[in-house]
């Protein structure tokens, strides 16, 4: 237990938490944007996975930032495809989302095998690049501030993104449109706002953000692509949107919470070798289910406290 506590209250652990949380934060913001526009995006998982592979393959032949951009574009394009099928061809958004997820699961393996000449498991033979780490050596020995040292460039960008999304949603006219479209589409429609266009952009943005998450995953958390490497992060992000009460700041904290537990599942095998790895891996999923249920119980309690029977 002592070992666990020392491990948890270390700078390394903090860095692990931020590393684990960064892809989740991006995917959560992606989920938030489309959810607020009234389109539940269950394809975050598939978008991240495809973006991860895209950025790995591209970064093998181009600078790292081109790889990241390629991942973002791949996500954005998938968002546009979802918009096409959901908004123009009137397909159910959840079914479309699962179409994208299925495409991602097999399609990434197919594309990986094409890109590597037959490898189906990992991109170990591709010399893919990593996102640079922001090192602040002068802070390394300063207590507290040393926590800022050694994170991915994208982690810093994630913080910026959350603030930007908050500003966008609550301080710009387009944010007003987006929230209006999600809550009561007839109102913006009557005011001349093109509802379909707003949703399309929301899905594209959602894809681009998931794409950033995928890039971070395959170019920082791990360097290289492994099949199914997203391992449910897209769905956990969906849970984080709900847990964060559909608000960017709340969703950020929810994503960080899940990041903490993922980080725990990363450090625990070294400390407790007697706990089977499989069980440690279930931690983020168990926590997500529990968090969802606790959130719902709390919401019900709040109602009861205000004096409603049942």
């Amino acid at each position: 237990m002592i070992e666990l506590l020392t491990a948890v209250f270390s700078v390394t652990f903090f860095v692990t938490v931020i590393r684990a949380s960064t892809p989740l934060v991006f995917a959560t913001m992606g989920g938030l944007i489309s959810d607020l526009s009234g389109a539940l995006n269950v394809a975050l998982e598939g978008m991240m996975l495809i973006a991860a592979l895209t950025s790995v393959i591209v970064s093998a032949y181009a600078p790292w930032w081109v790889g990241v951009l390629a991942g973002v574009s791949a996500g954005a394009m998938l968002g546009a495809v979802m918009a096409l099928f959901h908004l123009r061809l009137k397909a159910d958004i959840i079914l479309v989302g699962f179409g994208v997820n299925i495409l991602a699961t097999g399609g990434t393996v197919f594309a990986l095998s094409l890109a590597t000449g037959g490898d189906k498991g990992t991109s170990i033979n591709l010399p893919s690049k990593a996102i640079p780490r922001v090192n602040l050596p002068f802070l390394e020995d300063v207590p507290v501030l040393n926590l800022l040292h050694g994170h991915s460039l994208l982690s810093w960008f994630a913080v910026l993104t959350v603030v930007a999304i908050w500003y966008f949603l609550y301080r710009t006219p387009w944010g007003l449109w987006l929230r209006g479209v999600g809550e009561y589409p007839a109102a913006p429609e009557a005011a001349g706002v093109n509802v379909r266009q707003v949703r399309t952009w929301a899905l594209v943005a959602s894809g681009a953000l998931s794409g950033l998450g995928g890039a971070q995953l395959a170019m920082f958390n791990y360097v290289g692509f492994t099949r199914d490497m997203t391992a449910g992060r897209g769905f956990i992000a969906l849970g984080a949107v709900l847990l964060g009460a559909r608000h960017p700041i709340g969703a950020l904290f929810a994503a960080l919470l899940f990041g903490v537990f993922e980080a725990l599942s990363i450090v625990m095998p070294n400390l407790f070798s007697w706990i089977p790895g499989e069980l440690i891996q279930t931690i983020p999923f168990v926590v997500t289910v529990l968090a969802l249920i606790l959130l719902s119980i709390r919401a019900q309690r709040a109602l009861k406290a205000r004096g409603v029977a049942n």
């Binding site: 061809l89 097999g106 399609g107 189906k120 769905f235 969906l238």
Partner: protein, 364 residues
Amino acid sequence: MNDKTALRLSTALREGSRALLALVIALLVAFLLVLLTSDEPMRAFQTFLTAPLGSARTRGLWIDDVAKLTLTGLAFSLVFQARQFSLGVQGQVYVGGLFAALVALSPIGQTWLAIPLGMLAAMLTGAAYGFLPGYAKARFGASEIVSSLMFNYIAIRVVNWVTRAHLAPEGSGQLSSPDFPDTAVFPALIPGTRFDLGILFALIATGVVWFLLYRTVWGLKLRLVGDNARFAEYAGIKSKAVMVSAMTVSGAIGGLLGAVYVQGRAFGRIDIDFDANLAFEGILVAIVAKNRPLAVPFVAIAYGYMRQGAQFMGLRTDVPTEMLAVAQALIILLVASQFNVPFAKTIARLRGRRPGGKSREART
């Protein structure tokens, strides 16, 4: 009576032809992909289209897939009809498979009770595992999409751990249990193939689900809840109870699939990661079948054929099996959308362009 049958027939024809059209488009795109990526596209595509029929053994593999796809398709159809996006079939397959394996590896496994008890154990645990996200939704309002997916991840990891650490012979480093005794494995209907009891159970399950949905009060309630839950409440139907029971019954089917997996001739033991993601493909089967149980086996036959074709293509040629994912996604997207008019035009255009595709083939 006549107008009723006519109405049904015309609806079935219209929707059947839409599904068929989606299939044709998906196949065309698959063909195009093979053309673009393979060094021997004709052989690859021929393998894809004909290999499953090649021998009694390959036909057995196909039928085995049909049985499994039918069961997962039924499980998804049932929850989708109640308009619950519970996606927990995969988890149910794992826990069901584990409990069937526990029965098979226990002393009961040596007796004739091994098969019925194994299946029963699997269905019960599957039902319990389906009940959990349903209860969490009905009682607390927790989104069933997220929770059922989380339950899948949990089940896979826990079952893999039990298999690796407790069922595999100690110290062997194997990732599977020892083979079950013969009494615990489904007998082959055609000796030497995978053509076993599984397909029989799948067909029985189809009949049962159809009967439940269209001939019982519970089924009508379930469909009314799926159509309009508020109306159902207003009519005096306890919609939450119906939702939870739908997820539970669907869980039992998922569990049954677990038993069919581990006790079928394909395995006859439990491995880690044994379902190879097939359980999830029930979503596709259910969507194409429009959640109608009687259509599910037919979709499973067609889709199972494609699936096996892709497997053989992956084994025998340079085109990876996973190419199929593109066709899968296209089928889902097309069947889920209303593409009557706009796509009729696209098809016409595609037909016009086919010669272009051929010239590309000449170039490669």
